[in-house]
């Protein structure tokens, strides 16, 4: 058994002649054969990997720890690598996590977060009942009371101020079906004031990438990085953000001898594994990339055939890049000129290159331009549409891809249809509601086609200090699986929160929002975790996986679907909303599939995805294609676009070596101690922004950073705000174990000009 786990061979076989002599051959051989026979019997049974099935009856020498238990398969909720989970359940209780050895992407691996996925369900800090803040104290209320009061207030606000007075902070952590319902809710309510975490993370990526070749998602897959001949990561620390993906990255490094280049102002954990670390001044990525492009063109290293046949606009890029000589790049980025030339040569000599980026570049005020420059680099090198190449943008949240695909966005309906009249008519046909009725739900016809407030900027819509569009002040906020920690200028966010007439938080845990906001009439609705519900989720590799419900919602929590139903029933449009939805969530999957033709979400039926979950072991780790078995020929997770229910999925975008039916795709037209500033190691330091925000915290002097003028404060912390503790604002027992100020109180103004993503990474 141990043997087969390590080597991955399904059959134990007899002792191989290559084995070394053990200390005591007599005893060794006898016990060895006994272990082996037992192993063969056990592994033979274990390798069929049924999704739910009793733990096998075990032969001599092996014990069953929990007779009668079942294995249920799900997916970790922490990040977009989407590692598989084998949950062992006995009598309706999740008793332990098993090793999900067969999962094609994670192969049983977890980081510290996935290894404790079960703690999401068992944690004592979970919200247990609906709560309302009355006179500064949290009071337990019933679900009915919560729903009644919330909906009464919502209707009231709607009557007085119109539908745009509500903002819906949706979520990258709900299932795709729920994300779709959130967008549908916003549409039926009559506002485009809906956004989710992509609005503060990767929406610059989409704007940049989609404007280059059509879709704004990871083009290849995590597993495909195994085939890269070189890898470059810019503003990306996947060793900490997506640790399990390192399996594939290190494989390329070890097996292909692929250079691993990390461009980052800090010496990160990823840099520790790099063959080349390039220190760059924050905010200067574009110059660096154009510098590389310039060197490549000057040396004739660009892929002329690829450019001739598939790329437009090359002369203009060459002209622009000509400004960025290595010497000029050195002045801007602080990267030595010789290094710029050397890196360009490494990339040119070792193709295909996998290029990845993350939050380091997206969250700058020119974020979408930076994304474009990355795409341009890959086009110039001819690395697109090939195995081992691509722009492999690592998604962050487990379902940020799914939620973005489902249009939990202020500028689009589901599946990136946008907000044009034709798009609305398309979705009205899918929803089977009258177009005119939807129009009537909005404040005016104009508002239907205009963008709503984004997640990064909703708080500006509350006080409306300057005239802005949309121009209805926001009076009500529903934060569904979303927090305020990552927004910049937290003190402004708090001011906005305190001005609201209604604040509803739906979350498994009491959030920072709940603790920061000082007013009354806040409702906390205990949502269940994703392990207590079912639905699909889209990983960073565009793979769609099905989460089966592991255990029922714990305490008095309800799952997202039930909470949505509770609200919709009291808001008067339940009949229209649930017209074609009886079985939840599978009917939702079918409905969103019918409508999401633009991105090919229609082939991933619940039945097909569930079959993939049952047959992890049949998928090849290098190609992600199933060899034999019930899913033979399909790519794991039916990566979108998956055009029909017989299509195998598209594992690599823009790969024209395969036909469309085999999973190929052309480019699409888009008609993206002591330092000088006085910090002592372990000393308390207060830092203030030019906007009046303030944080304080213990400083740690590290050598990771380029110089002693650069600081890197961690930002996803709660418990303290503007220097003071929030302990008394938390419901008893739910204060986080680690409490500190979020760094976002200290960030400056500055949002990306196209997508309004906040500039956290380029502050001065």
């Amino acid at each position: 058994m141990i043997r087969s786990r390590i080597t991955g061979k399904p059959d134990c076989g007899s002792g191989s002649p290559a084995r070394r002599k053990t200390l005591n051959p007599e005893i060794a051989r006898r016990s060895f054969l006994k272990l082996c026979a037992a192993t063969a019997a056990l592994t033979g049974a274990a390798m069929t990997g049924k999704m739910t099935g009793k733990a096998r009856a075990v032969p001599n020498g092996q014990q069953e720890a929990h007779p009668g238990s079942r294995m249920i398969r799900s997916v970790c909720t922490h990040c977009a690598v989407a590692c598989g989970i084998n949950a062992e359940v006995l009598n309706g209780v999740w008793i332990r996590q098993e090793i999900a050895r067969d999962h094609p992407v994670s192969k049983g691996g977890y980081c510290c977060r996935g290894a404790s996925a079960i703690a999401m369900v068992t944690s004592e800090k979970r919200l247990k009942n609906p709560l309302k803040k009355v006179n500064g104290r949290w009071q337990k209320i019933s679900w009915d009371q919560a729903f009644d009061e919330i909906c009464a207030k919502l209707s009231d606000i709607r009557k007085k101020d119109g539908p745009d007075a509500l903002h819906l902070n949706g979520s990258a952590k709900v299932s795709t079906e729920m994300a779709y319902l959130l967008r549908k809710f916003a549409a039926f309510w009559g506002s485009n004031n809906i956004d989710h975490q992509a609005g503060i993370r990767h929406s610059t990526t989409e704007a940049g990438v989609a404007n280059t070749w059509g879709y704004g998602a990871m083009t290849n897959s995590l597993n495909d990085i195994r085939h890269a001949k070189s890898m470059i990561f810019i503003g990306s620390n996947v060793a900490e953000a997506s640790p399990v993906s390192m399996q594939h990255i290190l494989h390329a490094k070890e097996v292909n001898n692929a250079p691993l280049i990390v461009v980052d102002p800090r010496f990160t954990k990823l840099a520790a594994k790099a063959t080349d670390h390039v220190r760059i001044r924050p905010g200067t990525d574009c110059a660096f990339i154009l510098g590389l492009v310039n060197v490549i063109i000057k040396n004739d290293w660009h892929d002329k055939e690829f450019i001739r046949t598939r790329v437009e606009g090359f002369p203009e890029i060459a002209e622009e890049a000509a400004h960025y000589t290595p010497e000029e790049v050195e002045v801007i980025t602080a990267i030595p000129a010789a290094e710029v030339v050397r890196i360009a040569k490494v990339l040119a000599d070792n193709r295909p290159t996998s290029l990845s980026w993350c939050m380091g570049n997206t969250r700058q005020h020119i974020g979408n331009s930076i994304s474009r420059s990355f795409c341009i680099l890959q086009l110039v090198l001819g690395n697109m549409g090939k195995s081992g190449g691509g722009t492999n943008i690592f998604d962050s949240h487990d379902n940020i891809q799914g939620a973005t695909d489902m249009g939990v966005l202020s500028h689009s309906l589901p599946a990136y249809y946008g907000l044009a009249d034709g798009s609305w008519q398309h979705w009205c046909r899918i929803w089977e509601v009258e177009y005119d009725w939807i129009v009537s739900r909005f404040k005016g016809k104009d508002e239907m086609n205009k963008n709503g407030f984004t997640l990064a900027r909703w708080h500006a819509g509350v006080p409306q200090k300057k005239k802005m569009a949309p121009n209805t002040p926001i009076k009500a906020l529903i934060q569904w699986g979303s927090g305020s920690k990552s927004l910049t200028r937290s003190h402004e966010v708090k001011k906005a929160l305190d001005m609201l007439d209604l604040l509803v938080v739906v979350d498994p845990f009491p959030t920072m929002t709940a603790a920061t906001c000082d007013c009354n009439n806040i409702y906390l609705l205990p949502g269940s975790s994703q392990y207590e519900t079912s639905g699909s989720v889209t990983s960073t590799s565009r793979q769609i996986q099905w989460r089966a419900r592991i255990v029922g919602p714990v305490h008095d929590c309800r799952d997202d679907y039930a909470i949505m139903e509770g609200l919709v029933k009291r808001l008067g449009f339940a009949d229209k909303f649930y017209k074609n939805i009886r079985q939840v969530p599978e009917d939702i999957t079918r409905e969103l599939g019918r409508g999401s033709l633009a991105i090919g979400y229609n082939g991933q039926t619940p039945e097909r995805i569930k079959k993939h979950m049952e047959n992890w072991h049949t998928f090849n780790i290098d190609t992600l294609q199933a060899i034999g078995g019930p899913c033979d020929g399909e790519y794991y997770g039916l990566p979108w676009p998956c055009w029909t229910d017989e299509h195998p999925g598209t594992p690599i975008l823009y790969d024209i070596s395969k036909t469309l039916a085999e999973g190929g795709l052309p480019f699409r037209n888009r008609f993206g101690n002591e330092t000088n500033i006085g910090i002592r190691d372990n000393g308390m330091k207060t830092s203030e922004s030019t906007e009046g925000g303030q944080i304080n915290g213990k400083a740690k002097v590290v050598s990771e950073l380029a110089d002693d003028q650069t600081i890197f404060p961690p930002y996803h912390l709660d418990g303290r705000f503007m220097g003071r503790s929030l302990a008394e604002n938390y419901l008893e027992g739910s204060m986080p174990y680690v409490a500190d100020n979020p760094a976002n109180s200290d960030t400056n103004y500055g949002h990306d000009i196209t997508t309004q993503v906040q500039g956290t990474e380029d502050g001065l």
């Binding site: 058994m1 141990i2 043997r3 786990r5 390590i6 080597t7 070394r20 053990t22 005591n24 005893i27 060794a28 016990s31 060895f32 272990l35 037992a38 192993t39 056990l42 075990v58 020498g61 092996q62 014990q63 069953e64 720890a65 332990r96 996590q97 098993e98 090793i99 192969k107 049983g108 691996g109 977890y110 980081c111 510290c112 977060r113 996935g114 290894a115 404790s116 060793a239 900490e240 640790p243 399990v244 390192m246 399996q247 290190l250 490094k253 070890e254 001898n257 250079p259 010496f267 954990k269 840099a271 520790a272 594994k273 063959t275 080349d276 670390h277 590290v702 050598s703 990771e704 950073l705």
Partner: protein
């Protein structure tokens, strides 16, 4: 008899903490006791390396040698375990161990250490039957179930290997030769200015 061993491949260890948490969660190890830890040297500098450490189940275990009450014993398959009923919490094993594996809850009167706890290679208390008390005192007995330790099974990058020492050694040797040495090793060009 196969001897069980751990090996952590430092070229792969990324200090993700998966092994640490897998052990803590799977064995319900109480707060304050860390059976497995990841040690990182040169953090933030070139040459940063991490390694996951727990009890190494030594062939000639110093902890067994110094225990005054013979609470620590070694199984035929090499797994070193402590009997919590016998242990008197003297701490000698901690002083002898080069890896700092023995941990003490320190929750007895007058600050006494209490019974020693450490990595069991997920073999519980070595009794063949999975008794009721075993999980509470020692954690899971996965070896009896024919399963591998949680830490190695859940390692994000397959840095941590656990199992039959011969196979682990073979696997590691394959990796090292694949990574190359001499002119094939990465970094060769940097080191020799090529």
């Amino acid at each position: 008899m196969a001897r069980m061993k751990f090996l952590c491949d430092i070229e792969r260890c990324i200090d993700c903490g998966g092994c640490v948490v897998a052990c803590k969660e799977g064995n319900h190890v109480p707060a304050g006791i860390n059976r497995r830890r990841v040690v990182t040297i040169n953090q933030g500098r070139p040459g940063e390396k991490s390694i996951s450490i727990a009890c190494m189940h030594c062939a000639d275990a110093p902890c067994i040698a110094v225990c005054p009450v013979d609470a620590i014993y070694q199984r035929e398959d090499g797994i070193v375990l402590v009997s919590k009923e016998t242990c008197i919490g003297c701490g000698y094993c901690f002083m002898a161990c080069p890896f700092g594996a023995p941990q003490f809850p320190g929750d007895k009167v007058f600050g006494a250490r209490g019974a020693m706890d450490k990595c069991t290679f997920c073999a519980g208390d070595s009794a063949p039957s999975c008794s009721e008390e075993e999980p509470e005192l020692y954690g899971q007995n996965r070896i009896a179930e024919g399963k591998m330790p949680l830490c190695a099974g859940m390692c994000a990058t397959k840095a941590l290997l656990a199992g039959d020492a011969d196979i682990v050694a073979d696997l590691f040797r394959e990796r090292v030769s694949q990574r190359g040495s001499g002119a094939d090793a990465w970094g060769w060009d940097k080191a020799y200015n090529k």
